[in-house]
Each structure stands twice: as structure tokens, then as C-alpha cells.
């Protein structure tokens, strides 16, 4: 059966690894992911953006470990995602193409929840896609969107 799926922007993963107080709810979300109750989708772009410049091999191993977890689903920046990102920028729903890639990864793959701390830059894209995209900060609310 499909599991509820939410998409995390790079800033969420960074804040989780950083231990930022606002990212505390991520622990609970991850806990439910570990139990096989949900999936966290990430754009492949996040694989490049979540980086410790000059970091140790241990830091890198930790980042790799996160992205290889079975409940972390990595979405390619393929033609459909890129075209959708272009559409979002063209319509003025997203200002920056790279932000738009994260949003497009959600709308193309019918993920109805995008979690980010950058609510301002993603405000206009809310409601796009089918099901309509909800943009919010990470929160465990007992459910998520169903991946179809």
C-alpha cells in the first residue's frame, strides 16, 4: 500500500542535522518513517545542497546515510520535473528555478505536503498540483499525503 509522503526542502534537512530547535518535530516524523509509516521525499537537488563545506568524511557519511534510508525517496530532476519547475517560474508562482525544482518534485509526483522553513518563497505555489499542495513547516500531525 502507498505510504503517506511529504517532501522536505534542503533547509529542513540542514536544520535537522544542525539540531536547530525549530527542527525538533523532524525527529518524530523520522521516527514514524523508521517504523515504515510514512516516506520523506527529497529532490536530488537536496543531495547537492545539503553539504558541509570542508567537512570530514564522517560528516559526509552521515549525509549519505540520511539520503540512503529506505523511507527517504529521492526524486530525479528529470524532464518532467524541470518542465514543471519552468512552468511554476513562468507563471510567477516561484521566483527562483532551483526553489521551483523542489516544488515541482512535489506537484509532479502528487505529493500534497511540502515542508520547508522558507514559507515566504513557496507561498504562491500552495494549491498547485493534484492533490493541492500544502506548504508548511515540518510537523507531525499523524498523517501525510498519500503517494499515488
Amino acid at each position: 500500500m502507498p505510504k503517506p509522503r511529504r517532501l522536505w526542502c534542503s533547509c529542513v534537512i540542514i536544520d535537522y542535522l544542525k539540531g536547530a530547535p525549530r527542527a525538533k518535530p523532524c525527529e518524530e516524523i523520522i521516527d514514524h518513517g523508521t517504523k515504515g509509516e510514512l516516506e520523506i521525499a527529497v529532490s536530488m537537488l537536496a543531495h547537492a545542497e545539503v553539504v558541509k563545506v570542508g567537512g570530514s568524511s564522517s560528516d559526509e557519511a552521515m549525509i549519505q546515510e540520511f539520503f540512503s534510508r529506505p523511507y527517504v525517496v529521492s526524486i530525479q530532476v528529470d524532464r518532467r520535473v524541470a518542465e514543471e519547475a519552468r512552468r511554476l517560474v513562468r507563471l510567477g508562482l516561484m521566483k527562483k528555478p532551483l526553489d521551483a525544482v523542489h516544488a515541482a518534485s512535489a506537484t509532479i509526483h502528487r505529493i500534497s505536503v511540502l515542508e520547508t522553513y522558507n514559507l515566504k518563497d513557496f507561498a504562491e505555489v500552495a494549491g498547485q498540483g493534484s492533490p493541492a499542495l500544502v506548504v508548511r513547516e515540518p510537523i507531525w500531525d499523524g498523517q501525510g499525503s498519500l503517494a499515488i
Partner: protein, 266 residues
């Protein structure tokens, strides 16, 4: 799966006559379609047998359901797939991921049995055979053309598929299946010539892998097959460091993560 999952199909023949051979062929082909969808929906689990729960002879009408309760809901996928392919217009955007290539080929074969002179003209499918039929879909000879159009559509791109490797096939072609993490679709991976790749595929069986190469997609973006150029495991190192909350406290220094990403995106 709903306890009452069932699929009803009604066969219509020319002048209301249905030849026995056409009926037998149609039942076999529809059963194969159901099993192929169930296999994909169950992500490679061996399909359970289905049984006939109702037969009516006026226009031959047959209702089938799984012999035992399963967690896999097959009928909605079959009906959604039939409806998507049968619909007029461009490549059906709503073709379900679980209605894969094998199901399309099965549907084409069902279509081959339609409109033969003196044979079947069309088949009507519906759910809830024992009560009010729902999601009624009718297919006729045009379904073959529609399936061909779906199978012809699509595009190729270089990229990678991540997912669990399963089902190595070595007779009638050499390929294995990777179950795409993102869409849940089975992606067929022809095994390159030589023992090296066969052994790698065997070693990868049941593990999560990143398979890179030329990916062929259906027109609606579902991955269909990949020409394997490289494979590497998505294995987790049990002894290695874990990405815990606060595991890399200085990952971006003191900068706010939103501002950091904004700066990257400038």
C-alpha cells in the same frame, strides 16, 4: 483490500452470440491481466488465485474475486487502467503506475479477440459484481489501437532509478526488475551480455540499488525500462555514523538555513 473486491466482465458477441472459443480465450486473457496487475500491485508477491463467484449466461457475465483475502486491491487498478487506456484523446495521463507494460500487452491481447467476425464485439467491466455495478468500463476493437498508442508514446533520458531489485529472468530474454521507489512501478532492466552483469544482478537481488543508464519512459512519465550502465547498492553501513538530530551542528555555521539556501539559489 476490501473483503468484497470483485471484478465482473460481460462478454458481448455479434448478434448476441458468443462462441465458446472466444469466451475461453477472453477469460484466459482477462485472468492474465488481473494476475499481472496483482503482481505489480503486490510489488512482486506471487499472485494469489482468483475464483469465480457468479456466472450468468444471458450475455455471458462472469464475476471473479481473490480466493483468499489479500492486502492488495487489484480491481480498482484494473478498472482505472482500462478506463485510462480506453479514454479518447492523448496519452492517458492517469494511467496508474501499477498498470504496467505486461498489463498493457495483456489488454492488447484481449483486444485482439474483439470484433472478429462471428466472435466477441466488446466487453464490459465493472466492480461490485454482487451488488450495484460501479466503475463500468467498456472496451471494443479500438482498444488495440489505444494500447499501441500508449506503448509507442514516451521518451528516453539518461538518469538513474532507485529501488529494490527483484525477479531475474534468464529465459526468453535476460532482464531483472527494479521497483522504482518514487512511482512504485516495476522497471525492466535488460541484463547486458556476459556473465559479469548476470552475477551482479544476482548479487543485487532483493537489495536496494541505484541503477543508472538510459531510461525509457511512458508518455506520462512512468519509467518503463532502463539500459543498465552502472549499478551500485543503496546499502546502509550498520557500523557507520548515523544522521541524528544535531549530528552536524556546524553544517552551515551560524547562518540561518533559509538564508543559506537563498544565497545558494542567487
Amino acid at each position: 483490500m476490501p473483503d468484497d473486491e470483485s471484478l465482473t466482465f460481460v462478454l458481448h458477441g455479434e448478434n448476441d452470440i458468443v462462441p465458446v472459443d472466444a469466451l475461453v480465450d477472453a477469460v484466459k486473457r482477462i485472468a492474465k491481466l488481473v494476475y499481472d496487475v496483482q503482481y505489480v500491485a503486490g510489488r512482486g508477491l506471487k499472485p494469489r488465485p482468483w475464483v469465480i463467484v457468479r456466472l450468468s449466461s444471458s450475455s455471458p457475465s462472469i464475476t471473479i474475486r481473490p480466493a483468499v483475502k489479500s492486502t492488495v486491491a487489484t480491481v480498482p487498478i484494473v478498472l482505472e487502467g482500462l478506463r485510462a487506456v480506453a479514454s479518447e484523446g492523448e496519452m492517458p495521463a492517469e494511467l496508474p503506475a501499477m498498470f504496467g507494460e505486461d498489463a498493457l500487452v495483456d489488454l492488447r491481447r484481449i483486444g485482439q479477440g474483439l470484433s472478429k467476425r462471428g466472435g466477441l464485439t466488446d466487453i464490459t467491466f465493472s466492480a461490485n459484481g454482487d451488488s450495484t455495478p460501479t466503475e463500468v468500463t467498456r472496451i471494443d476493437q479500438r482498444i488495440r489501437e489505444r494500447v499501441d498508442s500508449v506503448l509507442r508514446s514516451g521518451y528516453t533520458e539518461h538518469g538513474s532509478i532507485e529501488g529494490r531489485v527483484d525477479a531475474i529472468q534468464t529465459h526468453r530474454g535476460r532482464w531483472f526488475t527494479v521497483w522504482d521507489d518514487v512511482t512504485g512501478a516495476p522497471v525492466r532492466c535488460p541484463i547486458p551480455e556476459g556473465r559479469f552483469w548476470l552475477e551482479r544482478a544476482k548479487a543485487a537481488l532483493t537489495t536496494r540499488q541505484v541503477v543508472s543508464g538510459q531510461i525509457r519512459y511512458f508518455g506520462n512519465g512512468l519509467p518503463r525500462s532502463i539500459t543498465v550502465e552502472e549499478m551500485k547498492p543503496l546499502a546502509q553501513d550498520a557500523q557507520g555514523p548515523k544522521a541524528t538530530f544535531g549530528g552536524i551542528p556546524d553544517i552551515i555555521g551560524d547562518e540561518d538555513s533559509v538564508e543559506y539556501i537563498r544565497r545558494l539559489h542567487e
